[in-house]
């Protein structure tokens, strides 16, 4: 679709060994089986005697369960058992929240099957266990549940007032209040003082609508309880965390649990969860002594899979008349939904360190109130906290530019950190290692033809063209590569942020890489193969990457937060380096030379200054046959490493969107989209391009299309893809992408994360562009998604209020 992607030679032969793997646009190893129907998703698993589950869900968003009659369902053909919350109260435990953001965080008990009270529409009240999916489904309608309806609170701002409580067991809807103040933290000055002294203060309330991670493969779980261990196949991003969470939630020894994530069809954070359905499937399988499967329908996926975003952002930014930003105050209401999922409470906090963006203003305060409502819980969704932060600061920079009648790029340039100022300690307490905002912006401006489009915009304004043009700017950075374990500890997150890898050398010299990262579409098999081929000098094709099974990959922290390459990939490289060290000892022995005289390049050890060399494969075989090992050296090259990052990685970039707004219909379209991203050193440009494209699509989609909408009773109105709108290829522009390359200093490769960059950057670029197109007509704001109807109504209101400037 766009630039880059100079594809490498197909099937590099021996001559390529050890050279140039990094940076090559290798085709994805994982695609052949995915596109030829040889994929194995969880729902493809069929085990002998397997039973099927269907969930009985509450139609009410808030109610007391007064009675459940399961007799008719139990008597239904093919049904073996029906379990209610009361039936399994003793064993189901409470679903884990591993991120208590404050010591006094409040949260309701979170049973997988509700026992006394339901707090959102779709919450599970019983499970049917039957011989077939059809029999299970049929019986769902036969379960008779009596509810006493309770008042619901759906609106976040209303929930904050505590007039209606989302849970009768809690005294307030407030779960926690989390504050960062640069004056208190010693990273800056007081924002209150700064705003009081500012010549210009702009105040806005912005809304992050609720989004649904619409991954391709609905979630599915199979549990086999028949062997020594309980084996779970699940469509998850986090097999390792899930294993640990199942053990602690259900009180099963961790050693007795094996979790396998087979082919997983996307996640976007939506599969970074320990779900009630997973817990229930384990409980059912153990009770029945037989394998059990649960696969959600798309309707269920939209209704009860965890959602994302859902915040109200009350923002104040101060500046001098010349446009030097003096301080930024952020006050959030974050919608938890009815419960705290795995890291629900921490999502807004992940954004807390990013509201300063790429800028160096001196004063910053962030306050977030985590609030319960009667909706499904929110949790990680691509970007998790950082898109919200970027949206807030980038929208506010545009608002400030308008206020100051200044070009939005000029305002940004006045405030951003110059490339000579890195490493830079930010007002939010992070240390940005590197960056070059000037370079990325210069490139983007050129590719975009910024001046030309500004001139075209002026022409259309002057002749009152029905299709107005706007230019949206977003100069973003983000923190990813989650995460230094110490930082996570300081934030009270339960686990660490390291990653583990193992490099195993087979007798032939082929290599197996075992990674704790858990790919679900990203292309790790390809990228890790490139890393190891490069490091060990073995052919790309001779590297096999294994992942997603806790019995194969014993240790891992899985995949989210754009962490796989910058954390998991570094563990792979560290393990490969250990292999070289081990091989060196054997090579020296084989060549009767000193280790100090050897150098390793292109897959062979050479005695410096001579022609004498031994290939990696020969050493592998020598270690396997073990006929002639040096004394005291184990006959084995396998190595492992655990990598804990010293810092986050900070990708950045400049995104420019030319937006057309049809003032007659309110329809919005992207005329041109340019992004220049800096993700440091690139292992595979095609994979990077793919991540950027997909990320852009998701970010643009938040700006224009997606929204989870509820009625007053608490029922999801946008409960199918007819109403929950996701764009298709024809709705998205031809992206013009490019890169600058400022290597990160926090890892040996110089790489930065790219998984979320497009999503984080694009949403404000689009909305800024839409507003830039119609601001001269008097429009001040348009809530996301900017639907034709909303845009048209905004134009009408501007007209009737005579707001034309």
């Amino acid at each position: 679709m766009t630039t880059t992607a100079e594809s490498g030679p197909a099937g590099a032969g021996r001559a390529d060994i050890g050279r140039n793997e990094i940076g090559k646009a290798r085709l994805r190893k994982e695609d052949a089986h995915l596109i030829t129907g040889r994929s194995r998703y969880t729902d493809n698993m069929v085990l002998p005697g397997m039973l099927h589950l269907a969930m009985v869900r509450s139609p009410y968003a808030h109610a007391k369960i007064t009675a459940i009659d399961v007799s008719a369902a139990k008597a239904s053909a093919g049904v073996l058992a029906v379990l209610t919350g009361a039936d399994i109260a003793g064993e189901q435990g409470s679903l884990p929240n591993v991120w208590p953001v404050t010591p006094d965080q409040k949260a309701p008990e979170h049973p997988a099957i509700a026992v006394d009270e339901v707090a959102f529409s779709g919450e599970i009240v019983a499970v049917i266990i039957a011989r077939s999916v059809a029999a299970a489904r049929d019986a769902v309608e036969l379960v008779d549940v009596d509810y006493d309806e309770l008042p619901v609170v759906m609106d976040l701002e209303e929930a904050f007032t505590d007039k209606v409580l989302a849970h009768t067991t809690l005294e307030s809807n407030k779960s926690a209040t989390w504050v960062f103040d640069s004056a208190e933290a010693g990273t800056g000055t007081s924002v209150e003082d700064a705003l009081a002294d500012s010549e210009v203060v702009v105040e806005r309330t912005l809304y992050q609508q609720r989004l649904i991670p619409a991954f391709m493969e609905p979630r599915s779980t199979v549990v086999d309880p028949t062997g020594e261990q309980i084996t779970m196949w699940s469509s998850t991003q986090i097999p390792h965390i899930l294993r640990f969470a199942l053990a602690i939630t259900l009180g099963i020894p961790e050693s007795k649990v094996r979790v396998i994530a087979p082919d997983v069809g996307g996640g976007f954070g939506g599969k970074l969860q320990v779900t009630p359905e997973e817990i229930i499937t384990v409980v059912a399988a153990r009770r029945m002594g037989k394998p059990c499967k649960f696969t959600e329908t798309r309707s269920e996926s939209l209704q009860v899979g965890h959602h994302g975003r859902a915040q109200v952002q009350r923002l104040k930014i101060g500046a001098t008349k010349e446009g030097i930003v003096t301080g930024f105050s952020v006050n959030l209401l974050a919608d938890m939904g009815a419960y705290l999922g795995l890291i629900t409470s921490g999502i807004p906090i992940l954004g807390a360190f990013m509201y300063n963006g790429i800028y160096k203003f001196p004063a910053y305060r962030f306050e977030c109130n985590n609030i319960f409502t009667n909706k499904p819980w929110t949790d990680a969704y691509r970007g998790a906290g950082r898109p919200e932060a970027t949206f807030a600061i980038e929208r506010m920079m545009d608002e400030l530019a308008t206020e100051l009648a200044m070009d939005p790029l000029e305002l940004r340039e006045k405030n951003w950190i110059k490339h000579t100022e890195f490493p830079f300690a930010t007002v939010a307490g992070l240390e940005y290692d590197t960056g070059n905002y000037e370079a990325a912006t210069a490139k983007a401006v050129e590719l975009f033809d910024y001046e030309g489009l500004r001139a075209e915009q002026k022409r259309r304004r002057e002749n009152n063209h029905p299709v107005q043009l706007g230019i949206g700017v977003s100069t973003f950075t983000e923190m990813c590569g989650l995460a230094p374990s110490r930082v996570l500890g300081a934030l009270n997150y339960a686990a660490g942020g390291w990653e583990h890898a193992q490099v195993r050398v087979l007798p032939t010299g082929n290599v197996e890489v075992v990674t704790g990262s858990s790919a679900h579409g990203q292309g790790h098999e390809t990228a890790w193969s490139q890393l190891v081929a490069d490091r060990l000098g073995v052919p790309f094709e001779n590297v096999e990457v294994l992942h997603g099974d806790t019995q194969v990959s014993q240790r891992g922290m899985d995949t989210y937060g754009s962490r796989s390459l910058t954390v998991g990939g570094m563990a792979v490289l560290a393990a490969a380096d250990k292999v070289i060290e081990k091989a060196k000892v054997i090579a020296a022995h084989m060549m009767e030379s000193s280790e100090d005289d050897l150098e390793f390049a292109n897959g062979a050890f050479t005695v410096k200054g001579t022609e004498q060399s031994t290939a990696f494969g020969e050493i592998a075989f020598a270690a396997f046959s073990a006929h002639n090992m040096p004394d005291g050296v184990e006959p084995n090259l396998d190595s492992e490493a655990t990598f804990d990052p010293v810092n986050f990685s900070y990708p950045h970039g400049t995104h420019l969107a030319a937006m057309e707004v049809d003032t007659e219909t309110g329809h919005v379209s992207v005329l041109k989209y340019v992004c220049v991203d800096d993700v440091g050193v690139v292992v595979n440009p095609m994979l990077v391009e793919g991540q950027v494209h997909g990320g852009l699509a998701q970010g643009i989609s938040q700006a224009l299309y997606e929204e989870a909408v509820y009625d007053d009773a608490g029922t999801l109105v946008s409960g199918s893809f007819v109403d929950y709108l996701v764009p298709g290829a024809p709705d998205l522009p031809h992206y013009i992408t490019d890169r600058t390359e400022t290597p990160a200093t926090s890892n040996q490769l110089g790489a930065k994360g790219v998984g979320e960059a497009g999503t984080i950057a694009s949403t404000p670029a689009i909305v800024n562009g839409v507003l830039d197109a119609v601001r001269h007509l008097g429009v001040k704001d348009i809530k996301m998604p900017c639907t034709p109807s909303r845009v048209w109504h905004a134009l009408q209101e501007a007209k009737t209020s005579g707001g034309v400037q």
Binding site: R137, V467, T665, G666, H667, V717, P730, D731, P788, W792
Partner: protein, 297 residues
Amino acid sequence: MIPSAFDYAAPTTVEEALGLLSAADEAGDEVKVLAGGQSLIPVMKLRLADPSLVIDLGRIPSLSGITDDGDFLTIGAMTTHHVMETDPLLATHLPLLQMAAGTVADPQVRHRGTFGGALVHADPAGDMLAPVLATGATFTVSGPNGQRSVDAADFFQGYFTTAVEDGEILTSIKVPKYTGWGAHYEKFTRVAQQWSIVAVAAMVRIQDGVIAEARLGLTNMASTPLRATATEAALAGCALTQEAIAAACAHAAEGTEPASDLNGDAEYRRHLVQVVAKRAVMKAAGLQPDGLKRTRE
């Protein structure tokens, strides 16, 4: 999702199908006929319909195809959207229907979904309804007492309701030819593949440099498709300019009762239909209106 259990029959003649229908009726069974299944199957999977018998019309050859009957084209109820989209007879004599069929869903759905199924399903946002209404077609319905004809004006009776009674089958639609007329189906959606938020089916006969006659059908502006009669009247004799056509199309919301939903409220739809009508008429007349180029044009 999985529908409730049901029996399945695949008759090979209309008579056989009608026999099955009346037998089921006598037995008091709930029965549904299946055309392309693109609306019925989703509704069954969501368990909004639970027929105990499904009668598949897909094996009855006489129900599909387009034939030239002089002043008319007769279109079998089981003719797929894809055939409609690509048929040369339609392209010559009824380009409006051809264009509308091309805007339905995606190629997969168009290869399965049928003209008759879409008309009997009668979703107010369905794209084939307004064009058929605009042409003034006649519907042939077969039942236990033989065949009857229903005028387009009487066929659509409300949300998902038509003149086809229980025990009856829509067999064909007889559509007058509009050879030489300009035609355009203008569909307004948020994304390329979506049901119409509002759409306008327009046909114009141009004579002596003005619009001599116009026929307009409106999609999703009420519980049934509507004729835009006030606009049609205003367009008679209308000059071929954007201003004149826009003035005539300012009547397009008259007599409409659009619903409010996530894609827009009624007020927005009443405004939108005027813009969409203007664009439809201009394009039917071979003019290029201002406004955003849509991806599917």
